[in-house]
């Protein structure tokens, strides 16, 4: 079995309670681009698992799938790592796609490595770009060390070439209503995993709006020395009608929940205004906010990469400037300006 025997681009059509993840549409759009660059012969196939999910085919076709494989079984009603991995593995072995793209969601990142291991192939995580090089090789670009170093990865021999991609890295195409394609229904045999039972689900309650919904953000980064300083950043955010967010280091150490993290491995935001405080501005951070309308930064290092993306800047110690700024804003608001 050589790599030439593998053809086609697969997109894992992640769904939850009958709703497809938006990232699926983004990946379908990128698949069309890749198909062209690879010579036009690879069929774009969406693969969807669940109990009764054939109703999702229409949407998948409208966003660019040329074929949909529907794998249905009662035991696939809810996501479970091993049954889903087993089915995806079996399908991949049967249909031999050359490329297999999955959303880098909780579910995607949970199941993709098991499938990749079962297939003894390569899996590139969190690709920020996908392309085909001059020799027709499929190349994935991924960040390392917080994004300060980028790598071009390729999976030379093994197939399928698996990749997970974060939401909003690519854009979906305009849906074409009524588009149609081939549907393959696979009646898969799979047992439920007796060892893995979800016994309780509780919705999470967040303080404030999701940061992707905020017009104004004040973000803190690695340079924030004391967890208590977040209070003053929060106060500043409120004075500006916005909310607190952070760069990855503050989420990694638990000072703020992951949901408040801006960046490649966090959330991509496009606020009207963002104030970066003590954030160096790594590539993965910039990738998450560079489209903001007005970017202002405070950092005590003149050479920090954050200046590359900032419209306004103050090379200063935030522990002094932020309190002074808060005082000045309060002064103006109370009419003493």
């Amino acid at each position: 079995m050589s790599k030439e025997d593998y053809t086609g681009i697969w997109v894992y059509a992640e769904q939850e309670k009958g709703v497809l993840s938006k990232t699926v549409f983004e990946l379908l759009a990128k698949s069309a681009d890749l198909k062209k660059k690879l010579g036009g012969r690879d069929e774009i196939t969406a693969v969807v698992l669940g109990k009764s999910v054939s109703g999702l085919c229409g949407e998948l076709f409208s966003y660019g799938a040329e074929k949909v494989i529907v794998a249905e079984n009662d035991n696939l009603a809810e996501y479970s790592p091993r049954p889903y991995a087993k089915v995806l593995t079996a399908l991949a072995e049967k249909y031999k796609p050359s490329i297999f793209l999955l959303p880098a969601s909780a579910q995607g990142r949970d199941v993709a490595p098991r499938v990749m291991c079962n297939l003894r192939t390569g899996l590139t995580a969190d690709a920020i770009d996908l392309d085909v090089d001059g020799e027709g090789v499929f190349v994935q670009t991924t960040p390392n060390f917080g994004g300060n170093i980028l790598s071009h990865i390729c999976i030379k021999e093994r197939r399928p070439q698996m990749v997970t991609v974060h939401p909003k890295v690519f854009s979906p195409n305009e849906p074409v209503p009524g588009a149609a394609g081939k549907v393959i229904t696979e009646k898969v045999e799979v047992e439920a995993d007796d060892c893995y039972t979800v016994t309780d689900v509780t919705p999470r309650v967040f303080e404030g709006k999701p940061i992707s919904d905020c017009d104004v953000l004040v973000a803190g980064g690695r340079g924030i020395k004391d967890e208590g300083d977040l209070r003053m950043l929060s106060e500043l955010a409120q004075l500006l009608g916005g909310e607190l967010a952070c760069a990855r280091p503050l989420a990694d150490c638990g000072w703020l929940p992951h949901e408040k993290q801006i960046g490649q491995s966090g959330t991509t935001v496009k606020p009207r205004f963002i104030l970066n405080t003590a954030i160096s501005g790594s590539v993965q951070y910039q990738a998450g906010m560079h489209d903001a309308n007005c970017i202002m930064s405070i950092n005590h290092t003149a050479g920090a990469p954050i200046w590359d993306v900032s419209h306004y800047g103050a090379v200063a110690d935030y522990t002094k400037l932020v309190p002074a700024l808060i005082a000045e804003i309060k002064r103006r608001k109370s009419g003493n300006g």
Binding site: K225, D226, H300, K320
Partner: protein, 379 residues
């Protein structure tokens, strides 16, 4: 580095450094303004620092003088107060370790390891350098116990300690050799803790006056042999002085680092002020002096660990360190110009902290007596 640290010692150093950076340094300004930090003290206990110097059989770390020097050195880079608190506690616990009966060791040392605070009380309002001038007395009572009268001043950890090792005169006719040591619990009836001293520096340590009004102590409150108190105290001070030398090195390094960051970022006349030799040369002096302080402290610690008498080495280490650390802190403050005068920039606190070390645990004058006595006596 003359001293080669073992793997474990490097790990201890790294761990103490991380603990200082994360937990101690951020609290130093608060301690300066508010006094003893009980929350931080709990973290110090949980992190296992209280019993480093005490053997494992009593629940301690079985650490050497090098180990304790490493730790206070790192602590001092974040807070002179916290380092001094720990050093004073260890010094007092050491007295029990070296001079206690088996019963006393079994009773008190595990408590010192588990976090009960110990304090060492020699100095009085009218007797510091002249130990024989202490006026506290301990008189045998009919039941074989003791009655303690008098008071103490300038005792580090007084007011927060659980146990005081108090030195009192048991036989005034014998001068220094009439002093004995006693273990006094904080709740002893007749013990009054006065208000906290408003000190110039190391304000994160608790320092109060103590008054003893007919405190009745049991017979086993006597630590060591009657009359040995002065000798015990002097030996304990050797260890304390080594720690202080390391603390001075730590405070100096902290001051130099703050000054360095400032000099590298403050722009004047078109460039960072670190570019001006008048300033940069100062850093050369600071760095060299700090290195010497470290080497003297660790050398004296190694001497202590080898079992050899280290009184002169400890005195030399502390004398050099005390003299130079204050000057380094002042120089660092000068680098910060006007900002050095502001509490926001921290360095003025280091100057105030460093001021005490030419006095506490043996004044510079006493140290010079010790050293010159040793030099001049040599053949």
């Amino acid at each position: 580095m003359l001293i080669n640290l073992t793997e474990e010692q490097k790990m201890i150093r790294d761990m103490a450094r991380e603990f200082t950076k994360n937990e101690i340094e951020p609290r130093d300004k608060w301690m300066d303004e508010n006094g003893f930090d009980f929350d931080l003290y709990k973290k110090v206990v949980d992190a296992g620092f209280m019993g480093i110097n005490i053997p494992e059989e009593y629940g301690g770390g079985g650490g050497s003088a090098i180990d304790t020097t490493i730790i206070v050195h790192e602590f001092a880079k974040g807070s002179a107060s916290e380092a001094t608190f720990l050093d004073a506690h260890w010094m007092a616990a050491d007295l029990v370790l070296f001079h206690g009966t088996d019963d006393q060791k079994k009773k008190y040392l595990p408590q010192a390891c588990a976090g009960k605070i110990f304090a060492f009380g020699l100095t009085e309002a009218s007797a510091g350098s002249d130990a024989a001038g202490i006026k506290s007395t301990a008189v045998r009572s009919a039941d074989g116990g003791w009655v303690l009268n008098g008071g103490k001043a300038w005792i580090t950890n007084s007011g927060v300690a659980d146990y005081y090792i108090i030195l009192a005169m048991t036989d005034a006719s014998k001068g220094n050799h009439g002093i004995s040591a006693f273990i006094v619990p904080k709740d002893a009836e007749g013990l009054t803790v006065g208000k906290f001293e408003q000190k110039m520096g190391i304000r994160g340590t608790a320092t109060c006056e103590l008054a003893f009004d007919n405190i009745r102590l049991p017979a086993d409150a006597l630590l060591g042999k009657e009359g040995d108190g002065f000798m015990m105290a002097m030996a304990a001070l050797d260890g304390g002085r080594i720690s202080v030398a390391a603390i001075c090195a730590g405070v100096s390094e902290h001051a130099m680092t703050v000054a360095k960051d400032y000099a590298n970022s403050r722009i004047a006349f078109g460039k960072p002020i670190a570019a001006f030799q008048g300033l940069s040369f100062r850093f050369a002096e600071m760095a060299t002096d700090i290195k010497v302080m470290e080497m003297l402290a660790f050398d004296a610690a190694a001497m202590k660990d080898s079992g050899k008498r280290c009184t002169v080495d400890a005195a030399e280490a502390k004398l050099f360190a005390a003299n130079h650390s204050l000057q380094i802190c002042i120089d660092a403050q000068q680098v910060l110009g006007g900002n050095g005068y502001s509490k926001e920039y921290h360095v003025e606190r280091f100057v105030r902290d460093a001021r005490i070390f030419s006095v506490a645990e043996g004044t510079n004058e006493i140290l010079r007596m010790i050293i010159s006595g040793s030099v001049l006596a040599k053949k």
